[in-house]
């Protein structure tokens, strides 16, 4: 099989081209010695089958960032038939260094001048024939977004592959790269007369929009307004979709699974339906929200607004060891932590990503809000309840700030923040859908095993031994609850609530259901009454504080692990949040009691 690698700088439409070339059949490939996920796909070009790899976007083959090291490592270890270099035509004056570097390495290459539509608009003129002659490699203008020139490019690729040149593997890459001086000389010689640039960027639209969107006073309110709107869209559309999906799964359970499994013993039936099937349902419930989230993320990122948000929030976030993009993700976490953590992929510096992922789980997500709504309604007067909820939001911010401040030294962000602010663009519907679909697929593949195992394990704990009522004091979870009760008693959390926290480990969505099972009441008025009789508001607030701060859910842990590729990191996040939750509840409960409440 032929091997092709796609190379290019960030913001050149490299991924758009890759998606167009491969359909959405791309999957994650593993290469020895390379820790970063690379997307790859098999593509038929003429009668040749080719494996196409999308390399991370890099600025310079000599660069020191993690991505640049990955690309060097890849080129040294993998024999290639062809390198496709994607350039943004409007920035050809500086991006031409990539083909120059690739030529120096002796790799067979094709240059694709992308965004020809934008280049025309900005008045950039390129004589691709002359450029091809000087570079010694084919140079083809395309528009990956609209498909212009795409057929001609494919034909050229196919023709080149059919010539069956031997594969090339780069040896001694570091020594062969050009130094700055040579590069500057070559760059001038190549461009002279072949490329005509306007004196300066004349994108009136971008200049005008930036005047508003990056305005010193208006910029931030507009940013928060936009985030609020997106948040509303995701949950206004996502919640009904989630409900429909949930109803569908329930219907299938009631009408197919239960009748089908009725001859089996009740333990096995319970295990399969309430353990395994519900486990799959828990994962599936996240899919609509993740899809919508990435649809919105595609708009924010591809339009160029994500880089602008980094500009707006950077002053504040720099002091916390983060940058503006971390802030956007933490805000998104207030809907659901899972897509927010997946969203940190836009950051390329590992330290920055890790710190952001450590902060996001403290965002008060919609599942936790459900628990708090129930508890505050049960325990507080109608006029106090909203203030209680608001205080929990404030504490959620405080926990995130504290975490960033404490851990910023442990996750240093070496990558300097020099972000390109690309001209505003609007992504096509297809671009957005493909992106969202790929992310949903990725989430499903990575997290289902972990979550299902977790759900099944907790179900077993709640149902073993088999001869006692579910989640009662005699079950394993009840016993664990009793055993760790000495730890929770100083927080004012009784054995029943301790077991509920155990349920909450899977997902905060099932805390209320768990309480209903434990108290043997329906989730409606009875349960609220039963809890209100048993505990006072100080205990209730302590319980909510713990719920706010400890591990959000198994799905979050699953993505933390899969995204960081480190069990240690996932455990750090779990350990830190449990510790913080315990400490905060302890301090609150004991001081409230000392003060006489």
């Amino acid at each position: 099989m032929k091997q092709i690698a796609v190379l290019g700088m960030p913001n050149t439409g490299k991924s758009t081209f890759f998606n167009r070339l491969t359909g959405s059949h791309a999957h994650i490939g593993n290469w020895p010695g390379i820790t970063v996920d690379l997307m790859m796909a098999e593509v038929k070009l003429g009668d040749e089958l080719a494996e196409v790899v999308d390399l991370p976007g890099i600025y310079d083959l000599r660069g020191f960032s993690a991505d640049e090291a990955v690309v060097r490592c890849f080129l040294e270890k993998t024999p290639l038939d062809l390198v496709l270099i994607i350039l943004n035509t409007t920035q050809i004056d500086r991006q031409i260094i990539l083909p120059l570097q690739v030529r120096q390495l002796g790799l067979p290459a094709v240059v694709l001048l992308n965004m020809t539509d934008e280049a025309k608009r900005f008045g950039v003129k390129v004589q691709s024939d002359l450029l091809a002659q000087r570079l010694g490699m084919p140079v083809l203008p395309i528009s990956a977004k609209y498909g212009v020139g795409y057929q001609a490019a494919i034909a050229t690729l196919t023709e080149l592959l059919q010539q069956h040149h031997p594969m090339v593997q780069v040896e001694g890459l570091e020594e062969r790269l050009l130094n700055d001086q040579q590069l500057a000389v070559d760059l001038g010689a190549i461009l002279e007369g072949a490329v005509q640039m306007p004196l300066r960027l004349s994108d009136q639209w971008t200049t005008r929009l930036d005047r508003f969107l990056l305005h010193p006073v208006l910029g931030l309110p507009i940013f928060f307004g936009a985030m609020y709107l997106i948040f509303q869209v995701i949950y206004a559309l996502g919640s009904p979709m989630q409900a429909v999906l949930g109803d569908g799964l329930d219907w299938f359970k009631g009408n197919a699974l239960e009748p089908l499994l009725s001859p089996f013993p009740s333990f096995l039936k319970g295990f399969l339906i309430d353990g395994l099937y519900e486990g799959i349902g828990t994962v599936a419930a996240f899919l609509p929200v993740i899809f919508l989230f990435f649809l919105c993320m595609a708009i924010i990122e591809d339009s160029g607004y994500l880089a602008r948000s980094a500009f707006l929030m950077d002053a504040l976030m720099e002091r916390l060891g983060l940058d503006g993009r971390s802030f956007v993700m933490a805000l998104m976490g207030f809907g659901c932590n899972v897509p927010a953590i997946l969203g940190t992929r836009v950051m390329r510096s590992p330290g920055l990503r890790m710190l952001s992922m450590l902060v996001i789980p403290f965002s008060l997500c919609s599942a936790r809000l459900n628990v708090f709504m129930f508890m505050t309604t049960a325990m507080f007067a109608a006029n106090i309840a909203p203030r209680v909820i608001f205080s929990l939001y404030l504490l959620s911010f405080a926990a995130a700030l504290l975490t960033a401040a404490l851990f910023k030294g442990k996750f240093p962000n070496q990558e300097p923040l020099a972000l390109e602010l690309p001209p505003y663009r609007f992504p096509t519907i297809k671009q957005m859908l493909v992106r969202a679909w790929c992310e949903v697929k990725h989430f499903w593949i990575w997290s289902r095993r972990f979550i299902i195992v977790g759900v099944v394990a907790i179900w077993l704990l709640n149902n073993l031994p088999t001869n006692v009522p579910t989640a009662s004091a005699q079950t394993l979870s009840g016993m664990i609850g009793e055993t760790i009760q000495p730890l929770f008693a100083p927080l004012g959390i009784n054995p029943q609530l301790t077991v509920a926290l155990f349920f909450g480990f899977i997902a905060k969505e099932i805390v209320l259901g768990g309480l209903a099972v434990i108290y043997g009441k329906s989730e409606g008025g009875d349960l609220a009454g039963a809890i209100a009789q048993q505990i006072d508001w100080v205990q209730a607030y302590s319980f909510m504080l713990f719920t706010l701060l400890y591990v959000p859910c198994l799905s979050t842990i699953a993505v933390l692990k899969s995204e960081s590729k480190s069990l240690k990191f996932a455990l750090l996040s779990v350990g830190w949040s449990l510790g913080l939750a315990w400490f905060a509840s302890f301090v609150f409960y004991q001081s409230a009691r000392v003060l006489g409440f």
């Binding site: 960032s65 920035q91 004056d93 880089a307 500009f311 720099e318 602010l421």
Partner: protein, 81 residues
């Protein structure tokens, strides 16, 4: 005459980059983004609360942090027409 940093420019001013006193890693990145010696640089705006700078070099607009801008020396304002 005392050297001028990029960070000393006011929004709307243009200057030419003289020297970049930065380590090799940042040098490569800036160079790839078009921030090279001899290039004309235009300061578009500064971020709120001593935030980052928004500059334009050639066809590219870039944001960079103030601490890094302090290490980029430029010609006196107006010398670059």
């Amino acid at each position: 005459m005392a050297p001028i940093h990029l960070a000393d420019l006011k929004p709307g001013q243009t200057a030419t980059i003289l020297v970049l006193h930065i380590d090799a890693s940042l040098q490569h990145r800036f160079c790839a983004l078009g921030l090279r010696c001899g290039q004309e640089i235009h300061l578009l705006r500064q971020g709120w609360m001593k935030g980052p700078l928004h500059v334009r070099v050639g066809m590219t607009e870039v944001m960079l942090r103030r601490c890094d801008a302090h290490r980029i020396y430029v010609t006196a304002v107006g010398e670059a027409a």
